[in-house]
């Protein structure tokens, strides 16, 4: 998955001015709104927190409150499940129609 990082290693899901594109599989299956609440430090890079503690990559951790990201993720999964269920129902209906047409 391609994401875009700002100077503070905060994730963005779309390209923009001053953002660096990176590839990672750590966010596979995550909602775009949830990904945008993460900080991702690529391997070989370092980030210094306000209190001076140094974090080295590869690391992914939320910078927005987790509850907010978790809610976005759950809503995303609900929508995706509903879409999949609808698509499967349509496929079953289509097969049924075809079978009926052949029988006739």
């Amino acid at each position: 998955m391609r994401i875009y990082l700002d100077e503070g290693f905060r994730c963005h899901v779309s390209p923009g001015v001053g953002l660096t594109a990176v590839e990672t599989d750590l966010f596979e299956g995550k909602a775009p709104e949830a990904v945008a609440g993460y900080r991702y430090i690529p391997a070989g890079k370092r980030w210094v927190r306000e209190d001076g503690r140094v974090f080295s990559g590869e690391m992914a951790a939320p910078w927005k409150p987790w509850a907010e990201l978790d809610a976005a993720q759950r809503a995303y999964e609900r929508t995706r499940n509903e879409e999949l269920t609808a698509a499967m129902a349509e496929m079953v209906e289509e097969v049924y129609r075809r079978d009926m047409a052949e029988m006739e």
């Binding site: 750590l26 299956g29 900080r39 391997a43 927190r49 209190d51 503690r53 140094v54 974090f55 080295s56 990559g57 590869e58 690391m59 992914a60 951790a61 939320p62 910078w63 927005k64 409150p65 987790w66 509850a67 978790d70």
Partner: protein, 237 residues
Amino acid sequence: MGQCFLYGNGGSAGWRVAVGLTEPGAPRENMLWVKSDRAGGKYVFAETEPEPPPEGLIWFRVSSMGIITRADVYADGAWAAADAYMYLTGSWVRIAAALVYLIRGGDQCANVTGGWKGVRYYWSASLPGGVPSVTWAEDGVSVTASGTAAGSLLVTEKPIDVTQYGALLIQCESASDQVMCQLSTDTGDLFKAGQAASVSLTAGTASLDLSALSGQYYVGIQPRAQKKVKIRQILLK
């Protein structure tokens, strides 16, 4: 770490609580000492966060059984964990720690973690992972993933409350590439789905930022296929 059983709550129970960075002079039996230069004279025993906390308030977190599990001091608008001791039979016994260990050498820190177990790392139905080889020794734990691509997981039996901690520190003696430490809201085959934060491990100390995380998480070490890691200690700070 010792455990202390308390019955009742609030500051009226007659507990003597001393604060400061050095041991109190003339201690008495059952006296409590909070090692902090930010703590004031007021304290509370409670399961949940007291609101609104005044500056310097000491919060002794107690379980429903009345066991002190942690001591926090409210300073500069935030709670910070502190070491706390009780004077028992003539010596100071630590009953709560500013640092919480999840692995300390060969100690699985079961009072916090519930112990650790090796399980498969379930990536998907087509990549189900396998159970690792796990060896506990005096100086740490060695984990070798199974041969399947998704790899394996060494995970805590219980979720751990990371609220109020700023970082998870993982000290490794050695680590292959593709070994991660991860926090997840779920365990078993749902561990990956509930993944909240992760950091790659190398020889030395890795740090995972917890500043935006609150609540309870399972902590897992995930080496991918046939990768190895030896962990000396894991702690919350």
